[in-house]
């Protein structure tokens, strides 16, 4: 269940398929990546995907952060959804890595989520979001 979505386009209705299934056939437009899937396998197909769902079975497993950045760096502009053990204290990092929708297993308080996004006005490093790193602000 998508609880938080930061896009204006329509939610895709198609269920997502596994990476293997997608690579085998298919004309699916939604795919789901598990932590040990290599996101780079999707790079040739990005323009026909409207949803990539990245699974976080355990919050400690941070592979999905790299998957998200790799997809955004390759030019993917469709919906990038974090699904699973998504906690309020991680959600700002996820958004910086390019996720723009969130389907947490447990429910999150919308006010807490807003507070988490607003907590840090500045960031030290470039990532997959629009935030301008401090070094760039310092040097104009």
């Amino acid at each position: 269940m998508v609880e938080f979505r930061y896009r204006d386009d329509e939610v895709t209705e198609q269920p997502s398929v596994t990476l293997d299934a997608f690579l085998d056939q298919s004309n699916a437009t939604a795919v789901r990546l598990e932590p040990d899937d290599d996101a780079r396998a999707l790079i040739p197909f990005l323009d026909r995907l409207t949803l990539i769902e990245v699974a976080f079975p355990k919050f400690r497993d941070g592979r999905g952060y790299s998957s998200a950045r790799i997809l955004r760096e390759a030019g993917y502009t469709g919906e990038l959804r974090a699904q699973g053990d998504v906690l309020v204290d991680q959600i700002a990092f996820m958004r910086r890595c390019g996720f723009d929708s969130f389907a947490p297993e447990g429910s999150l308080n919308p006010a807490d989520v807003e507070a988490a996004f607003a907590r840090y006005e500045n960031v030290y490093q470039g990532a997959a979001d629009a935030a301008v790193p401090v070094w760039k602000l310092r040097h104009g």
């Binding site: 932590p35 290599d38 919050f59 400690r60 497993d61 941070g62 592979r63 952060y65 790299s66 950045r69 760096e73 906690l87 204290d89 991680q90 700002a92 990092f93 996820m94 910086r96 890595c97 907590r119 840090y120 006005e121 500045n122 960031v123 030290y124 490093q125 470039g126 990532a127 790193p133 401090v134 070094w135 760039k136 602000l137 310092r138 040097h139």
Partner: protein, 542 residues
């Protein structure tokens, strides 16, 4: 010294507010200890055997007097009047109350300090050479790059949930005073055709599987370094093992796929990452470098008066040559005979702060050997400094001698430990209390860990001791021949372990064997390397 600008300060202040909110939610019962644990662990707060322990970051081990006084204040106000300097150049407080933690962090933030990423599976505090800016053999001051890395790694969104913790060290001298190749990433600054860059070593570490980091790249230019390190981390985040916590460090990945394959993947990833524009311009490194400009040294030729014999002993043992004529590097040993390695009382910390302010251009360093350095002392002031140190019981003249022991907190504090470390350190130091005998033995780096995690660096000890639990009884294994310096090596185990008294005797037998076998002014570790394990084994078990 680096000084925060408004951006740096705002980020640290926001972290205090965030942590205060997390603690309040925990205290109000809104989140469980299970949910709170990963949050506090992102901020250096551990639940130990008796109380909460808070680890405070000391970036690349550098402090000014104002910060140092704050560390004393924190020990007084929130702890039991002392702090413990660690092998990662940080300080730990052992008796912290959860409800006071946010106030403590707010006090720290008022002097540009924090506890960010001092635990958790993220990039930890960047460590460096305690003689940075003062060593004659450095090609550049390593701290500006360390500060650049501190900022880049702080709240890095992609690398905050790595397979395991990640430690980076930066040095800039051929002599390695920071155990650089025993880090997840070790950087040695070098110059090539006048251009500053770094040799990059990846996959070193201690723990239960000690590894010396292989060189992955002989020269990465300074303005490519962040991209290159980002590529190193991304390969690790993707392929580092997550099925077994003991095999999750990057050293296991580099070892399993091999340095060549790891290098190939990093090179490929770097080619991509470099196009993203994430490297700050050299102007940012230059901005930071300006904060580390050499202090206003005076032209002075004065040599200290050596007529006081106790002073002369300390001078020869603890004071090191400086790159600036007329100046010296002073090492303050936190290893009194029978004391707890790395501990200092609030009043001792204050004394060191005062001395730094008065005699060392307001700077101090923490060393990975759990000592303190005054990096810029005029030679004419050495006697006054020694006097003040002696008053505070800080003039132990044992730097790099057998009683200058590295020891982890062990079972006296740590919830991971299998055996006590501190009493072993105390007993060994007491056994070798005779200062003349210690000096005759010469450089001997003895390191003690209370469990396999090796926080006490036992693998890198000329003599290493590892405490294990043997059917409910503390047992101590002995290793010989390790080194964390430029002659880096991993110690080898002598044989069956010992009980508490047995290990002290075994150390003494090994040392006496060395005295018998040594050739000229050969160090313990050099004799061991020359003659091998057998003669020592015979002496110990025979």
């Amino acid at each position: 010294m680096y000084k925060y600008d408004n951006y740096d300060q705002a980020i640290v202040d926001a972290r205090v507010a965030e942590f205060r909110d997390q603690v309040n939610r925990r205290m109000a019962g809104e989140i469980t200890e299970d949910q709170f644990k990963p949050l506090r662990l992102m901020n250096g707060l551990y639940l130990q055997l008796h109380a909460y322990m808070l680890r405070v970051a000391i970036p690349y081990g550098t402090l000014d007097s104002r910060q140092t006084r704050m560390l004393a204040h924190i020990a007084r106000k929130y702890d039991r009047d002392y702090g413990h300097f660690t092998t990662r150049q940080n300080i730990q407080y052992n008796w912290i109350k959860l409800e006071e933690c946010a106030d403590l962090l707010e006090d720290l933030a008022s002097v540009e300090m924090h506890a960010i990423q001092t635990s958790g599976n993220c990039i930890r505090n960047i460590s460096s050479d305690q003689y940075a800016g003062a060593a004659a053999d450095e090609v550049a001051d390593p701290r500006p790059l360390a500060e650049l890395l501190r900022q880049w790694s702080t709240f890095h969104p992609e690398f905050s949930y790595l397979p395991r913790k990640f430690k980076i060290a930066v040095i800039a001298s051929p002599e390695d005073r920071a155990a650089m190749r025993l880090h997840d990433i070790g950087l040695e600054l070098v110059k090539k055709d006048g251009v500053l860059g770094a040799r990059v070593f990846v996959g070193g570490g201690m723990g239960r599987t000690p590894m010396i980091a292989p060189e992955i790249n002989p020269f990465v230019e300074a303005d490519d370094l962040l991209s290159y390190i980002e590529a190193c981390l991304r390969v690790y985040n993707r392929y580092g093992r997550r099925d077994n916590v003991y095999k999750a460090r990057i050293k296991i990945l580099v070892h399993e796929i091999g340095a060549d394959e790891y290098r190939r993947q990093v090179t490929e990833e770097f080619a991509h990452v470099k196009t993203l524009g994430i490297d700050p311009p050299l102007a940012e490194l230059e901005r930071i470098t300006a904060f580390f400009a050499p202090p206003a040294f005076e032209a002075t030729e004065a040599e200290p008066d050596r007529s006081d014999p106790d002073f002369a002993v300390w001078l020869d043992q603890n004071v090191k040559p400086h790159k600036q004529a007329g100046y010296a590097i002073v090492n303050i040993s936190l290893k009194p005979i029978g004391g707890i390695p790395g501990d200092a009382s609030s009043s001792q910390i204050d004394v060191m702060a005062d001395l730094a302010e008065k005699y060392s251009f307001d700077e101090l360093r923490v060393t990975h050997a759990q000592n303190i350095v005054l990096p810029y002392v005029a030679k004419r002031d050495l006697y006054a400094v020694w006097h003040a140190l002696r008053e505070a019981e800080l003039a132990n003249a044992n730097l790099d001698l057998i009683s200058d022991i590295i020891a982890c907190p062990g079972l006296d504090y740590c919830s991971l430990a299998n055996a006590r470390s501190i009493p072993i350190a105390q007993k060994i130091a007491t056994r070798f209390a005779d200062a003349e005998r210690q000096r005759d033995i010469g450089e001997l780096k003895l390191k003690i860990s209370g469990c396999i995690n090796a926080c006490g660096h036992h693998h890198a000890g000329h003599i290493g001791i590892l405490g294990v639990d043997k059917k409910g009884v503390e047992n101590y294994q002995l290793t010989l021949g390790g080194s964390g310096a430029e002659d880096v090596s991993i110690g080898k185990i002598t044989g069956p372990g010992f009980d508490e008294d047995g290990i002290i005797d075994a150390v003494e037998k090994a040392v006496e064997k060395y005295r018998e076998l040594r050739d000229g002014d050969e160090r313990f570790v050099d004799t061991y390397r020359r003659v091998g394990m057998e003669p020592f084994k015979e002496a110990i078990y025979g």
